[in-house]
């Protein structure tokens, strides 16, 4: 493996900028049947909350044209179970583990973050943008003041760097990103899923028990790319971008738009090898274009 893809996200070194996205990759184990996880730049855990969560009832998935709607509702085993059962495995991997943390109120965020102080992870992704949970979740992420407020408190108590994951559903995204930066965030990631609705006309009812659910996948790529570009133009902290990336060309476009790393979500379901294919594609691109490092084309647009 050449060095052309090594990427620094602040002072965290990624061997390449490709990272499976939270909630689409479990804790990595399922994909070990397909490839060696050490090939990845990093991986991002399923969204964790302080307490275990059973997630939402009813149908949880619905396909849309080039998209997927999900209403998982942050089903997860809780921070303690993660630390006890998943972390021992993850910490042995030669790749960067990012832990995605959700919460239902300030206290649950802060306690979860404190617990993570006990282990040596490299980066926390603060999820204030999940549209599928009623309390907390997106509620924090759609207004600049609340986003900044929770960011500030989390940054204060965390010994790990905090990357805030933004919602595409709120008010002026750039303002929120700037507010999080000012509040001490060491990185921004975006986008979480777009709020959508599905109706089953045969049943004359909303598909999801929560009525609305999160849209992801190739369908949202143009929107995610625009938001990535806007935020990269505005902030000085690094950005980890995602939303509909399905091949190396897409990944490259996000990097050209300014993203330091990219995350690969829904397309894992369509092609379990997608992150590996993307890494190979980016590497071949660097060779063809005679780039010493992908950094040379980062943010050129």
């Amino acid at each position: 493996m050449s060095e052309c893809l090594t990427t620094k996200f602040n002072d965290i070194l990624f061997k390449n900028p490709v990272i499976p996205a939270s909630g689409t990759f479990g804790f990595g184990r399922e994909y070990e049947a397909f490839y060696d996880l050490a090939k990845l730049g990093g991986l991002c855990s399923k969204g964790l909350t302080l307490e275990p969560k059973a997630g939402n009832k009813g149908l949880r998935l619905w396909e849309t044209p080039a998209g997927l709607m999900n209403s998982i509702g942050l089903e997860n085993p809780g921070i303690d179970a993660f630390i006890n059962n998943e972390w021992p495995h993850l910490k042995e991997l030669d790749t960067v583990t990012i832990v995605n943390v959700g919460g239902k109120d300030e206290e649950s965020y802060l306690t979860a973050i404190e617990k993570l102080n006990a282990i040596d992870i490299k980066l926390i992704e603060l999820n204030i943008s999940c549209p599928n949970v009623k309390a907390g979740g997106m509620a924090y992420g759609i207004k600049a003041e609340t986003a900044a407020d929770i960011t500030k408190k989390v940054v204060e108590i965390s010994r790990h760097p905090i990357m805030v994951k933004l919602s595409p559903n709120g008010e002026a995204l750039v303002d929120i990103a700037l507010a999080c930066e000012a509040a001490g965030a060491q990185g921004i990631s975006l986008i979480n899923t777009l709020l959508g609705m599905a109706i089953d006309y045969k049943k004359k009812a909303a598909v999801f028990d929560n009525q609305y659910a999160g849209l992801s996948g190739p369908a949202v790529k143009p929107i995610a790319l625009r938001m990535t570009h806007q935020v990269c133009q505005a902030v000085d902290i690094p950005v980890m971008a995602m939303g509909g990336i399905s091949n190396w060309e897409d990944a490259l476009e996000f990097i050209m738009a300014g993203a330091t790393c990219i995350q690969v979500g829904t397309i894992n379901f369509n092609n379990p090898m997608a992150p590996i294919d993307i890494i190979a594609g980016l590497e071949a691109y660097c060779v063809r274009e005679k780039l010493d490092n992908i950094d040379q084309i980062r943010g050129i647009i």
Binding site: G23, T24, F25, G26, E30, Y31, A33, K46, A54, G55, K57, L59, R60, L61, W62, E63, P65, A66, G67, L68, N70, I72, E75, G217, P218, S246, T266, N268, F269, N270, P272
Partner: protein
């Protein structure tokens, strides 16, 4: 990528597809199939209908976009198959009573053929229920000891299970619930569930079902469960 050997309608709307495949495959397991890029976005879970080394067979009903595309494929075309996934049916050491409804009969053929091949002295009966047009009955008759067919009725009206039988059922959820209810508590009953799936491997938590032992993933922990685990019986 697997090359298609044959793909023909058994009756209108029900197709049988044979593809090249070798490897270990258990009855009750499924594959994720796709023969398209992003429209639809996801692969489609289809059970193993039959298998012998070099030939994997699916039996599927055309109900929407994915299965419509599958039905257009011709011998020589390629289809992406991932799997086998899922736990499959358990090893049964008693006589077997199988209850299938509609396209839910698909995974039962390989189950019975293999059971009888491995246990020639054990009995296997199958109840087959169809709403309108039956299919596959002759094939089942060739491997099972007894076939009880019902078209247009309610299969559980006919069902009587013997004390020494293990019951396995696959079909519409309403039928499986009924089977789970009427079979005496002494018999062991396994049901094969369906769910909308994205990954098929346990990573997305989209196929979760509530069980007495907490949430389970239909794709990875199932699709086969003991009745008491998933139904209130």
């Amino acid at each position: 990528m697997a090359v298609i050997q044959s793909n023909t309608a058994v009756i209108p709307g029900i197709y049988k597809m044979c593809v090249d495949f070798s490897g270990e495959v258990k009855p009750g397991q499924f594959f994720m199939l796709r023969a398209w890029d992003k429209d639809p976005l996801l692969s489609r879970p289809i059970s193993v209908h039959d298998y012998q080394s070099g030939q994997l067979t699916f039996l599927y009903q055309v109900v929407g976009k994915g299965t419509e595309i599958l039905a257009t494929l011709l011998p020589g075309n390629e289809v992406t198959i991932q799997g086998p996934y899922g736990n499959g049916f358990p090893q049964v050491n008693t006589d077997l009573c199988v209850v299938g409804g509609g396209i839910g009969t698909a995974p039962l053929y390989y189950l019975i053929r293999k059971f009888k091949a491995e246990n020639p002295n054990k009995k296997c009966r199958i109840y087959l229920g169809f709403r309108d047009y039956p299919y596959g009955v002759d094939e089942f008759a060739a491997v099972a000891d007894e076939v009880i067919l019902d078209v247009g009725g309610i299969i559980t009206d006919k069902l009587s299970v013997l004390p020494e039988e293990t019951v396995i059922t696959c079909g519409p959820e309403i039928m499986m619930t009924a089977v789970a209810k009427v079979v005496p508590p002494e018999n062991t009953v396994y049901v094969s569930l369906e769910a909308h799936m994205a990954c098929g491997i346990g990573a997305c938590l989209g196929c979760t079902c509530e069980t007495k032992a907490g949430n389970k993933k239909v794709c990875k922990d199932g699709p086969v469960f003991e009745r008491g685990v998933v139904f209130n019986v």
